[in-house]
Amino acid sequence: MNSENNTQLLHQKYIDSLKREKKWVRFYQLLIFLLFFSTWEIASQRNWIDPLLFSSPTKIWGLLIDKIQDGTLIANIGITLTETVFGFILGTFLGTLLAAILWWSPFVSRVLDPYLVILNSMPKVALGPILIVALGPGFSSIIAMGAIISIIITTIVVYTAFKEVDPNYLKVLQTFGATRAQSFKEAVLPASFPTIISTLKVNVGLSWVGVIVGEFLVASKGLGYMIIYGFQVFNFTLVLLSLLVIAVFATIMYQFVDFVERKLIKDK
């Protein structure tokens, strides 16, 4: 009886210590956040840093309110977000499809191997001008940028996962007389699901890069356009505002994918 109580007490203490530690972590995170922005503000106001170049949090906040009120910010966020989501889904889907083709035919995969290596090492954003001329300066070429940047790396990672599926699962299916398509559907794809989801996380980041660079080049709409416009008219408050907005939305998207991952692979 006594020892039971004791265990309970110790457990409670342990839980409390965990909670306390969590509180401290949160406290320091908040402290860094506040310190960063207040130092920035003070440094800018006292001219320790060039206010023209580095702006200040209050100026950025003022511009944020302005841009929300005149509706341009929301419109631009909407455009960039749509492009990124499409680019990222398209990149992941096409990359996985390509990986499936490589898995399907080992011969094709051997033939294409050096080309994949070349394509993977090439900086994809350099294809931007060609895409813009080919697809026109707009929505589709920017989505293509967002997709192309992640296709090859997705292909390589997912194909490796396909190949690493325990051959005994395939053996089980083979003994039931499964076709290659059935083997793919029943074993290879579901076994590689965790890898595919984790490439999604990488692809979110990559797609942002592709889309922002695409908007730099097309320079008509979106957050990337806001950056390049702010740069051209030397309005660095606008540049920094866009950057912060991008940081917030990229984080939200990453967290969303992370949430989906945990939901889907709950039983792992």
């Binding site: 005994n168 699962y169 053996k171 003994t175 039931f176 007389g177 029943e186 579901p190």
Partner: protein, 257 residues
């Protein structure tokens, strides 16, 4: 012609630098309802032979006929159990045991009912909706047996199916598998390196020798042992005798090499 007719099987594995003969001139006849064991040290080609019989790999030469038909055409008549259960973790128990039927488009109300009944017979309660991870090793291997039997194979290939289990579970499962297969009148081939397991379960043992893999000697298990469950057989005086003679044979094989 016998139920399963294995004639002059040769098999060689080729790599860039070598050609390894895994099986050399293996001929075996198996009658319907028999329980056969392939016993031997590792590297004697017993698993290779099993894969060839199951039609998973084509032999370099030789033929295999199941009920007078080449095995390639009757793959759905052959069930295969591996060392581990290899239940698909992303499927429920139910989806796992219906898998074979689903793949061969035979999943309907009758076969579904039959399969669920099998699950009951294996002493597994209401586990259909669970995931394989929620079951113990012994239960999982029983589910794997249900999955194999669900397609009603004519002949079962057991590739060391008890080797990953603890000893107590292994003995219990031996009894379960043995009585189940006898009740259904199924033919079975067990691959093992465990002499005791081979004696306790089989009607006939083929002792394999390595380099190249070949049948070295055949042992017929005495009638008294065959009629006992594997667990009872292990306690019978005949068991020790057979064990000794197989042991001696294995020793002499080692000596010659």
């Amino acid at each position: 012609m016998s139920f399963l007719e294995i004639t002059n099987i040769h098999h060689t594995y080729f790599t860039k630098t070598s050609a390894n003969t895994a099986l050399s001139d293996v001929s075996i006849q198996i009658e319907e309802g028999e329980f056969i064991s392939f016993l031997g040290p590792s590297g004697c080609g017993k698993t290779t032979l099993l894969s060839i019989i199951a039609g998973l790999i084509a032999p370099t030469s030789g033929t295999i006929f199941l009920e007078k038909k080449p095995v390639k055409q009757s793959s759905h008549k052959i069930g295969y159990m591996l060392q581990q259960d290899y239940l698909f973790p992303w499927k429920t128990i139910e989806e796992n045991i219906f898998l074979g039927l689903k793949l061969s488009n035979r999943l309907n109300d009758d076969t579904r009912k039959y399969t669920l009944e099998l699950l009951q017979k294996m002493g597994l309660g209401p586990v259909e909706k669970l995931s394989p991870k929620q079951l113990s090793g012994g239960m999982r291997q029983r589910v794997a047996l249900v999955r194999t039997l669900a397609t009603e194979p004519k002949i079962l290939m057991l590739d060391e199916p008890f080797s990953a289990l603890d000893y107590q579970t292994k003995l219990k499962l031996e009894d379960l598998v043995s009585t189940t297969l006898k009740a259904f009148g199924k033919t079975a081939i067990l691959v093992t390196h465990d002499i005791g397991e081979a004696i306790a379960m089989s009607d006939k043992i083929y002792l394999f020798a390595a380099n190249p893999g070949r049948v070295h000697k055949t042992f017929i298990i005495p009638e008294e042992l065959r009629n006992l469950t594997p667990f009872q057989a292990r306690g019978h005086e005949q068991y020790t005798k057979v064990f000794q003679s197989i042991w001696k044979e294995l020793e002499s094989l080692e000596f010659r090499e």
